[in-house]
């Protein structure tokens, strides 16, 4: 029996032939038209704008002082208008008081880790075939994660010491996106199979198999409980043109579509509510980060139009968001003042750009006191992925550590 091996020259010829054979002959007919249509209405960055550069460059160059003053005056007027509008509008609920930071839950395939602010691993628990993406309850006393296999999955509830409190068998599929009810009694989660996604709500202490609260036909995913516990936001829609943000009651009734203008809603980073429960932020497919009020009004673009921005997370005081923004130098992290986002007028003020390595396309994790952010960094050349604790104000130096490439997911909130 003889073995055939390809010579380098034969191999390269085969590779080039294969690449040329599999490359499409032409681009989709309307692609250039769509690009030009988009660029025609896309605001260009001025020459001094360095994509991903220090935020200070926005207001420090001397030649920009005059323009900055004019912009500031316009912003001031608009802020006043917003303040008046808010005063006469619906009254938001009081946000949860800021808490003390506890342990950070981080996950990788097959394992959940609890780490402290220095990155030291305090506890570990295996998670079977699932990623250890656990979710803390809002009071920080319970943790939920998936265990087992996609063919026989369990939802596990533990205390902060990782002692099991409940182990609930759930329907087969990929179990993910846990969201605790504010009172800590129930957990909403998604189960995704090859053909559909469904959302379940289960009592955190019960042992019976939960039943879905959504119809399989709408392909519902990524539930996110509102701060007042009355609504669950989620993504539904089978085709990409119909994927939108919805809300429903905790029993699955009263499904209402919220996003109308934004392009397809992307659920991978979840749907953070503002702490006052008024608005929900969401990422769209290639159309930036948007927000919409819980009643479907005031849908507005937060980080603009064609920018590759995603994974918004809201600070505990609701004043800022951390967001990943694609630049020509890769994915960078921006901290944006949310209070200046008014209607559909993009008045986002870049508060700071987080220095350090590139950000992975994963949500940043705010500490419960709002003084730190856990960032999942990435490197292009392979090797361990850096994790950082950064100061959103950019004052304190960042702390970098490596936790076996686990992804930081949530920060335990301890009482004030």
């Amino acid at each position: 029996m003889s073995e055939r091996t390809t010579s380098p020259i034969d191999f390269e010829r085969s590779l080039v032939d294969w690449l040329e054979a599999t490359a499409p002959d032409r681009e989709p007919a309307d692609l250039l038209g769509r690009v030009l249509e988009t660029t025609l209405v896309t605001r260009r960055r001025p020459g001094w704008w360095k994509p991903g550069g220090p935020a200070a460059s926005l207001w420090q160059p001397r030649q920009m002082i005059g323009r900055t003053l004019a912009v500031a005056a316009v912003l001031l007027l608009l802020i006043l208008a917003l303040a008046v509008a808010l005063a006469v509008g619906s009254r938001p609920q009081e946000p949860l008081p800021l808490g003390r930071p506890g342990l950070i839950v981080a996950g990788r395939l097959g394992e959940l880790l609890l780490v402290d602010e220095s990155g030291a691993v305090q506890r570990r628990v295996p998670t079977g075939e699932f990623w250890g993406y656990g979710a803390w309850s809002r009071d920080g006393t319970r943790l939920a994660y998936a265990d087992g296999a996609a063919t026989d999955p369990f939802l596990v509830v533990t205390n902060p010491e990782l002692d099991e409190v409940a182990r609930i068998r759930v329907p087969a599929g990929t179990v993910a996106a846990f969201s605790w009810s504010p009172d800590g009694r129930q957990i909403a989660f998604g189960v995704v199979t090859e053909t559909e996604g469904q959302i379940y709500v289960v009592d955190a202490a019960a042992g019976k198999v939960p039943v879905p609260i959504t119809d399989s036909s709408i392909d519902a995913r990524a539930p996110s409980w509102s701060p007042d516990g009355s609504l669950i936001a989620f993504r539904a829609g089978v085709s990409i043109n119909t994927q939108a943000l919805f809300v429903m009651q905790r029993d699955g009734t009263g499904i209402t579509r919220l996003s109308q203008q934004a392009r397809a809603v992307v659920e991978t980073c979840g749907f953070p509510w503002t702490p006052d429960g008024r608005s929900i932020l969401f990422e769209t497919r290639f159309a930036g980060v948007w927000a919409v009020d819980r009643d479907g009004t005031n849908e507005r673009e937060i980080i603009g139009g064609t920018m590759d921005a995603g994974c918004p997370t809201v600070s505990p005081d609701g004043k800022r968001i951390a967001v990943n923004v694609g630049t020509e130098r890769g994915m960078r992290g921006w901290i944006v003042n949310l209070d200046l986002v008014i209607g559909d007028v993009n008045l986002v003020r870049l508060h700071t750009e987080v220095p350090g390595p590139l950000w992975d396309r994963l949500p940043a994790v705010w500490s419960p006191d709002g003084r730190s952010i856990g960032v999942n960094g990435r490197v292009l050349d392979g090797g361990p992925m850096p994790r950082l604790i950064v100061d959103p104000d950019g004052v304190r130096p960042a702390r970098t550590f490596f936790i076996d490439n686990a992804v930081m997911i949530g920060w335990q909130r301890l009482p004030p």
Binding site: S2, R4, E12, A21, E27, V35, T39, P51
Partner: protein
């Protein structure tokens, strides 16, 4: 001519940018399609790269490096598309690929199949350097500049990727030979 068009586009001339985009979009889409192996993701990556090119064109320092810069934007966009796809596990085998391949007499059917499988096992970074080098014809230093990595890293990445692909082909050959042996 090209440089003059680039400079006009850098100055904000949208017609000039349209010329540049029309000239580049076919090869950009083909490159993106080869990297991400998905029509919709390739469309989005191409559109994203061109829109970002328009947004940031005024910050381009050297008009002569426009092509490399444009492909750098494209590679970044492809990385983003692949990360999203990987999290969803929705990289599907494209039947159209196989039909296109079967018309090509230059590559054996088994090789095509193994190349496809081997290629899907490469990560985004390895796919990018292979395609830029072997399909787009960029030199290794140019690949390093486009991808934004040191020259040595580019060399080793191309080497590792081609080694993996060759291993896929050779493994197929060994399997074929073993099958013949067992039948005999």
């Amino acid at each position: 001519m090209q440089r003059e068009t680039i400079e006009r586009a850098m100055a904000g001339d949208h017609d000039a940018f349209a010329q540049l985009a029309a000239g580049a979009i076919r090869s950009m889409y083909a490159t993106a399609r080869l990297i991400v192996r998905d029509d919709a993701a390739a469309e989005d990556a191409t559109q994203e790269a061109l829109v970002n090119a328009w947004r940031f064109l005024s910050s381009l320092r050297d008009p002569d490096r426009f092509d490399a810069w444009l492909y750098r934007l494209l590679i970044n966009a492809c990385r983003g598309q692949l990360r999203r796809s990987n999290r969803h596990d929705v990289i599907d085998v494209d039947v159209a690929d196989l039909s296109r391949q079967s018309a090509d007499p230059g590559v054996e059917l088994a090789d095509r199949d193994q190349l496809e499988r081997g290629f899907r096992r490469l990560d985004a970074e390895q796919r990018a350097v292979v395609i830029l080098h072997f399909y787009r014809g960029y030199s290794v230093p140019e690949v390093a500049e486009i991808v934004g990595i040191p020259l040595g890293t580019a060399k080793s990445r191309i080497h590792r990727a081609t080694t993996a692909l060759r291993a896929a082909l050779d493994a197929d050959a060994r399997l074929g030979a073993a099958a013949e042996g067992s039948r005999a």
